[in-house]
């Protein structure tokens, strides 16, 4: 048996030594460094990245997107390269990209690594806060040689944010619960970008500081939180009106909550909020409509805006 | 002739029980047939397990071929002692040939492939136990008696000087009982093997064994020539049963007589009357 152990140890040492000395042929030999300048073929692996690219007027250059990219409408027509969670490396390669834009998720990082090994140009972005979104827009602008458009976009967003600040800066903060998931009940906590949007919309998260970003809460917290408005994410593409009815029924249990008493329960299409992309301000407005219907009462089609 | 098994002052008790063996000492000369007999619970199987190294004794020593049993590694001990227990069907369906070739494990090299010599032992063993014709059948396809012969074949293929058997003919028919004991005796006479067989069948023990170890229920024991140990008083005392002792030429036999025996009360506590 001792011989066995020695044999094993030797094999392992050799393997490790080989690995350390890098005796392996690299796949790509001597590619020239990625050319700066406008990439002609861009692949995007996330919906918000797609929206940013379209906002920078790069629609011609976008050759493929992930399955769930559906805004703007033209994005839905682009070639698909797999799920947000499991991008299909082969499909990405078949699209012959000059630049692949990805998010900072484990699965996307793995794909990015494979592509990097093959010599492709990858841009990985972390977008989990509004600041990070703005930085990301900048970075994308630089990478795609559309700095001026990026600057313009940022200016627009900032000015819209300013307008909103003026409109909503001095209102009374409305307590709101943003429901991520109905069963089991999970809400967006204070440490999320959704919370940032809530605050910009003149609201205050009914839930206090929590350990988790998206805590599940129980009846006690619900009763104690005193939410004046409840906004619930619509699930999938099924009928919003149906979901609205179901939500009102669900919440009727907690009849003493101000939100339930005043019937301030809204089911909304959450993409503008949850995607954290260039439609940021629309997202804020969406929330603001729910929080301060009086301010928006003048605007016509208020109900349609909620959709 | 040397003593191949030497037991000195052996005592053993299972963890929370009374001592089952107290101060047992005996010597087995190489090339003898020893029968171990006694009532249930007397410690026959325990003694067997001690002799093959499965259990370790609290006090006393067991010497196999002049070295204490602790001095042997598991592999070395298997080259000295082969054990045959109750037959069973293994979980995985090995064939007869495969089971018998497992006997060569203590002698195999790194990758465990049998050499020509190993194959010779295996085939001889199959031949001797008349199991060669089953060699590609799985154990589940055989009868109990045939399986027991396979396990004996395995012990033979192990080519050890000592064979320990735990009731080797327990569920066999008469023909196979005789056959197996004949085979063991032949092994002893022709190959000089030392046979130690635990048996319930005192008549077979008396017929075949040279020596006998009779274990009593109260941790007592008797060791000596089979003829002497298998006397009627001994049997009646140790087994607690009334019986008739008879003799044909030099073959002694004992028939237990129960309450409903049809001997007409002729046989009382003092046998010898019917001899």
């Amino acid at each position: 048996m001792k011989k066995l152990w020695w044999l094993l140890a030797i094999i392992l040492c050799l393997a490790v030594a080989g690995f350390v000395i890098f005796g392996f042929p690299q796949v790509q030999k001597h590619y020239a460094p990625p050319l700066p300048g406008k990439p002609a073929r861009i692949v995007s692996l996330a919906p918000n990245l797609t929206e940013i690219l379209f906002a920078l007027e790069l629609d011609e250059q976008i050759v493929a997107v992930s399955n769930d990219c559906d805004y703007p409408l033209k994005a839905a027509e682009k070639k698909k390269i797999g799920n947000f969670w499991q991008p299909n490396t082969e499909a990405i390669l078949a699209a012959k990209p000059d630049l692949v834009v990805t998010l900072w998720f484990e699965q996307q990082k793995a794909v990015a690594d494979s592509l990097k090994r093959l010599g492709y140009r990858i841009l990985t972005l972390k977008i989990e806060k509004i600041d990070e979104l703005l930085t990301a827009i900048q970075k994308i602008g630089t990478a795609t040689d559309s700095n001026d458009k990026a600057g313009q976009l940022l200016k627009n967003i900032n000015s819209q944010l300013n307008d909103l600040q003026l409109k909503l800066g001095s209102v009374n903060k409305v307590k709101v619960l943003w429901i991520v998931q109905a069963e089991p009940l999970r809400v967006a906590g204070r440490n999320t970008f959704i919370n940032e949007l809530i605050e910009l919309a003149g609201g205050e998260n009914a839930i206090g500081n929590t350990l988790q970003q998206y805590p599940s809460i129980g009846t006690e917290e619900i009763l104690a939180c005193g939410a004046e408005t409840i906004i619930q994410s619509a699930m999938g593409k099924s009928d919003i009106a149906e979901q609205q009815k179901a939500a009102e029924k669900f919440w009727s249990k907690w009849e003493h909550l101000p939100a339930v008493k005043n019937n301030r329960i809204y089911v909304v299409q959450p993409d503008t909020v949850t995607r954290l992309g260039p439609r940021l301000c629309q997202g804020v407005e969406l929330i603001a409509h729910c929080l301060h219907p009086d301010i928006y009462a003048q605007k016509q089609n208020a109900a349609q805006q909620v959709r | 002739m040397s003593s191949i098994i030497k037991v000195e002052n052996l005592s053993f008790a299972y963890r929370t029980q009374e001592p089952i063996l107290k101060d047992v000492s005996f010597e087995v000369t190489s090339g003898t047939f020893l029968a171990i007999a006694g009532p249930n619970g007397a410690g026959k199987t325990t003694l067997l397990n001690l002799l093959c190294g499965l259990l370790s004794a609290k006090t006393g020593s067991i010497k196999i071929d002049t070295a204490t049993i602790e001095a042997y590694s598991v592999r070395e001990l298997a080259q000295k002692i082969a054990v045959v227990r109750q037959e069973f069907v293994p979980v995985f369906d090995f064939t007869v040939a495969q089971v018998v070739s497992m006997a060569r494990t203590p002698y195999l090299g790194t990758f465990g492939f049998e050499s020509q010599a190993d194959r010779k032992f295996i085939n001889e063993a199959l031949e001797m136990t008349d199991t060669a014709r089953f060699n590609s059948r799985t154990l589940a396809e055989l009868s109990g008696g045939e399986r027991q012969r396979v396990f004996i074949a395995r012990a033979l293929a192990q080519n050890t000087p000592i064979l320990l058997l735990d009731e080797p003919t327990a569920f066999l028919d008469l023909k196979h009982q005789v056959g197996i004991y004949d085979l063991l005796k032949t092994m002893q006479k022709e190959k000089g093997k030392t046979i130690v067989a635990v048996t319930h069948d005192i008549n077979m023990g008396a017929q075949y064994a040279d020596a006998c170890l009779l274990l009593g229920p109260d941790s007592s024991y008797q060791y000596g020539y089979a003829a002497d140990v298998f006397s009627a008083e001994q049997i009646e005392r140790v087994f607690g049963v009334r019986g008739f002792t008879g003799r044909i030429d030099r073959e002694k036999f004992f028939i237990p007589l129960g309450k409903f025996a049809k001997d007409g009360g002729q046989i009382s506590r003092k046998p010898d009357s019917g001899v």
């Binding site: 393997a15 050759v63 299909n88 082969e90 390669l93 592509l115 | 298997a78 082969a82 293994p90 040939a97």
Partner: protein, 364 residues
């Protein structure tokens, strides 16, 4: 006893039945050849969906080598960058899991054991969810912290199971099983707790990882894994003749000269090692470790000297085919390979059982 009546040719026939190293070597070579052919065929399966149209991958282009810049020779890039690493990884993981299944079934004397039974799955799962939740980004192995944690979790749990098993009860096998059950239950509870506090994307990630996936890894990672797995399988091969004996039971094995504790420890240790390596790379791919040993045993018999290497190779073949199906059956969509192994494994095994039921005694 009819000693003289047994004809010579009968004996020769019995001698021919026994496994020799030559016979085994031939069988291994044949199976390896099949593996290589299957791997080659699978790398060529599946169309490439280029913008100008879908077509089959072209071997000529592959042999032409990488182009001047990325995107020039798509065939080469897809072949060498995606398909080849996947096929190699699938073969390695399949081999590791199948061999590990053989060993676990031998140690536990139970044909229904699989490589995950003694805590490896819950240990790896716990490692993964811990890595995901703690948000550690430092990585070393395969470029992913999850892989390291999965490996450490799996091995740590196995060690724990072995340690506990040694101190409970007399029967090693039963105490191992009980320790495994206890550890699995406890770790599952911890995993449940961590799941409840995980963010949705972290959760998604963990579940995805646990389902079992074959993804492309770098050549250096593949090489190190191959060395580890092959070394482990080789070590297991060296003790497989003792495993034959071990399956007869503790007492019988000792009587035949096998040190049961050392053999069991070595077998378990190496099996756990190769499983942990496989699991760290591909997640918990199910079914392979359970049915491949069964199937190979049905066809070739239970002799572990043969069962182990052949199961390894056939396990590799199976997983390569399964992964190719996972990659191509729905066009652009990719299924986790664990789904394919489950769906394909069941009926396949039933077919084997029906065909070879003559050999299986308890069906008579």
């Amino acid at each position: 006893m009819h000693r003289n009546k047994t004809p010579r040719n009968r004996l020769d026939k019995s001698m021919a039945e026994m496994l020799t190293s030559e016979k085994l070597a031939i069988r291994i070579v044949i199976c390896l050849a099949v593996l290589v052919v299957v791997m080659a065929l699978c790398t060529l399966t599946g169309k490439i969906h280029l913008p100008e149209g879908s077509r089959k991958i072209s071997l000529e282009k592959v042999f032409a080598g990488p182009g001047q810049k990325p995107g020039e020779n798509i065939d080469y890039e897809i072949f060498v960058g995606v398909r080849l690493p996947r096929v190699i990884l699938a073969a390695l993981v399949g081999a590791a899991l199948a061999c590990s299944g053989v060993i676990l079934q031998a140690i536990l004397r139970n044909p229904l054991a699989d490589p995950y039974i003694l805590g490896i799955s819950s240990g790896a799962g716990l490692g993964v969810i811990t890595a995901v939740i703690s948000g550690i980004t430092w990585s070393f192995w395969a470029g992913s912290p999850m892989a390291v944690f999965a490996f450490a979790g799996a091995l740590g749990t196995v060690w724990l199971v072995w340690f506990i098993g040694r101190f409970t009860g007399k029967s090693q096998v039963t105490s191992l099983l009980l320790a495994g059950v206890v550890i699995n239950a406890f770790f599952s509870a911890v995993i449940m707790f961590l799941t409840s506090i995980a963010k949705s994307d972290q959760l998604r990630l963990t579940i995805f990882w646990l389902m079992g996936n074959i993804t492309e890894k770098s050549l250096s990672v593949l090489a190190v894994s191959a060395a580890c797995i092959l070394a482990g399988i080789f070590a297991l091969f060296c003790i497989s003749h003792r495993l034959n004996v071990l399956t007869l039971g503790q007492e019988e094995a000792k009587g035949l000269g096998v040190d049961t504790t050392r053999t069991r420890a070595a077998a378990f240790g190496f099996a756990a090692f190769i499983t942990a390596v496989a699991v760290s790379l591909s997640g918990l791919v199910g079914f392979v470790g359970l049915i491949i040993p069964h199937g190979v045993r049905l066809i070739f018999g239970p002799d572990h000297r043969q069962l182990l290497p052949l199961s390894g190779i056939i396990g590799g073949i199976f997983l390569v085919i399964a992964d190719t199906l996972a990659r191509t059956v729905f066009g652009q969509e990719q299924l986790p390979v664990g789904v394919i192994t489950a769906i394909a494994g069941g009926p396949f095994f039933l077919f084997l059982l029906a065909k070879y039921s003559r050999k299986v005694s308890w069906l008579k």
